[in-house]
């Protein structure tokens, strides 16, 4: 059993290793978490996830760019792969379910994958449909999984026009499904015009927005 000081050292090490995209260090420290009986959930949330949250800030401040963020993401997943099987009980419960994908006509998925990662690390069950996803597929997957959230991504001005269509299709089948949109040409104004329930300007904000959307659902007794 690790002492408090050692536990702090490991969590800080995980945080730093994600920020420094040091995948080997993440693996080493994640194994130390297990060997020294540190709580895996704490290691994920206060080490890996906290580190990734800081990476989001670094991206927003133009200190990190996509190549660095992708490396951080790889480091984070290396840790998650080791730690996640050791979550138990309530900690392993999912925070919610999200269907995610880049809409039909759009093959750009870097942004979508980063949002997916943030949902993963936040403890959501993610149903990733990939890119250039037929609109009907979003509807089917939401119904099949009963996901609270559907997250739609688009990079192109042409493909963003698929968003209001798919929002309408999903809402027609399940008015309680919460839909969030994001991507380069999307703004809060566009999201509002499209009838989306949420908008995230970047990956870090997406999870926060999703959690708020689920809270709204729960307040209404629908989740």
């Amino acid at each position: 059993m690790a002492t408090d000081a050692r536990k702090k050292e490991i969590l800080k090490g995980l945080y730093d290793a994600v920020v420094d995209f040091d995948e080997d260090k993440v693996v080493e420290l994640s194994n130390a978490v297990l060997a020294e009986d540190v709580d895996a959930y704490e290691a994920i949330m206060d080490g890996l996830a906290a580190g990734m949250e800081h990476v989001g800030d670094l991206y927003a401040n133009q200190e990190y760019f996509v190549p660095e963020v992708l490396m951080c993401s790889d480091a984070l997943y290396a840790g998650l792969d080791i730690l996640r099987p050791h979550l138990s009980g309530k900690e392993a419960d999912v925070k919610g379910q999200v269907v995610i994908g880049t809409v039909e006509g759009d093959v750009h998925d870097i942004g979508k994958n980063l949002v997916k990662m943030m949902f993963d690390v936040a403890g959501f069950e993610v149903h990733d449909l990939g890119r250039d996803v037929k609109l009907e597929k979003f509807v089917e997957e939401q119904m099949k999984t009963d996901s609270e959230i559907v997250a739609l991504s688009a990079l192109m001005t042409t493909s963003m026009l698929a968003m209001p269509k798919v929002i309408e299709m999903i809402k027609a089948r399940n008015p309680d499904a919460m839909i969030m949109v994001g991507g380069a040409p999307i703004s809060q104004e566009v999201a509002d015009n499209y009838g989306a329930d949420g908008y995230a300007p970047n990956a870090a904000n997406a999870v926060q927005e999703a959690i708020q959307m689920i809270s709204r659902l729960r307040e209404m007794g629908k989740a």
């Binding site: 790889d74 809409v103 026009l161």
Partner: protein, 359 residues
């Protein structure tokens, strides 16, 4: 109530107007070159893919649409996802109502070994170039300058390997990224040579551009290492081949990269077009002495905005850049979306007619 500006009488045709820009002379008014491809096919009732896979229909769709809206600049061939098909991958032509340009569906080199094995393609048979060369013959037939689609090393490399893989190589295996970029530049130079041989002593411009190098993706430091040297080598080759002018589309958020873009040669003058992320006043300040500036009306607004919003954006851009020392062209910040309302394109011309005249 403010007095409405009145449209003025044009004294130049589109060819003269563009010619004036390239001769560093003031045209009668700001030229209007919308940057429009798939829209033209849709506009004349062709499938959008015709602009990319049918040289004859592509040419006429663009010419007829130019005639209809009365904009300057004629027809050109190209699209942003070049590289993948040319180096042996596959692309998909736009077919659904949500698509407007070809996309790569199979990337030809996604491992370091595949980059090693990548052969420099034969321009005559590589990907879209047989179509582009046919298109150039039509331009020649009608006495129009040929616009050579000159590759864009970094964006093309991303279309060969896939952008996230290229990004990871930049961080973990920079030598692989450099090897791929070198191969793209070799091919890009061969493209220029091929056009020069196919159309000897014929007036040409070269088109280059960069989307993937935007600061939404890479840092200025990464730009300096992975974009600047290759773009520079390609531009130097283009100009050494005898082509006098390069039309370079500097796409997306490029503000942190402008100091590097300013180190490149673009000809005498070049035409540099910018997205809405780069303010026209800034573009004029950095590049306006040497080169004509074009831009930067946000495509999302052209597609989704009201005609008043589009008009105001155009007026603001004209006000900022009209007096640029080497000229200014009103243009969309990137390709005009295929589903843009026609009236929004009309008001771009209207803004030029009401605010773009000199004297």
């Amino acid at each position: 109530m403010a007095e409405q500006p009145q449209p003025r009488q044009e004294t130049m045709g589109p060819g003269e107007r563009m010619g004036a820009i390239l001769m560093r002379q003031r045209p009668d008014r700001v030229p209007f070159m919308p940057f429009i491809f798939g829209y033209c096919a849709r506009n004349v009732g062709y499938p959008i893919a015709a602009v990319y896979n049918d040289p004859e229909r592509s040419f006429w769709a663009q010419m007829w649409t130019a005639e209809m809206f009365g904009y300057d600049g004629g027809a050109m061939y190209g699209y942003a996802s070049m590289g993948g098909w040319e180096f042996g991958g596959d692309i998909k032509m736009p077919v659904s109502e949500w698509e407007q340009a070809p996309v790569v569906t199979r990337f030809p080199a996604q491992t370091p070994e595949a980059v090693d094995a990548l052969e420099i393609p034969d321009v005559a048979t590589a990907g879209c170039y047989p179509i582009a060369l046919e298109f150039a013959k039509i331009q020649q037939q009608f006495g129009m300058p040929i616009m050579v689609m000159g590759m864009s090393p970094f964006t093309s490399a991303g279309n060969i390997s896939e952008v996230d893989i290229l990004c990871r190589w930049m961080m973990k295996k920079p030598e692989v990224a450099h090897k791929l970029l070198k191969k793209v530049v070799i091919f890009g130079k061969k493209v220029i040579d091929h056009y020069m041989e196919a159309f000897p002593n014929y007036p040409m411009m070269a088109f280059t551009g960069e989307a993937t190098s935007a600061n939404q993706i890479i840092s200025p430091k990464q730009f300096e290492e992975f974009v600047l040297p290759y773009m520079s080598e390609l531009h130097d080759h283009i100009l050494a081949s005898g082509i006098r002018n390069i039309f370079c589309h500097i796409c997306g958020e490029q503000n942190l990269n402008l100091k590097y873009w300013a180190q490149l040669e673009y000809g005498d003058p070049g035409i540099l077009s910018f997205g809405h992320e780069v303010d026209m006043a800034k573009a004029v300040e950095v590049f306006g002495d040497k080169h004509a500036i074009a831009g930067n009306i946000e495509p999302q607004v052209i597609q989704n905005g009201t005609n008043q919003q589009v008009y105001e954006l155009c007026k603001a851009a004209i006000d900022k850049a009209k007096m640029a020392p080497s000229g200014y062209l009103l243009m969309a910040g990137c390709e005009v979306p295929v589903q843009a309302p026609p009236y929004n394109i009309y008001v771009m011309k209207k803004a030029v007619m009401e605010h773009g005249f000199y004297d």
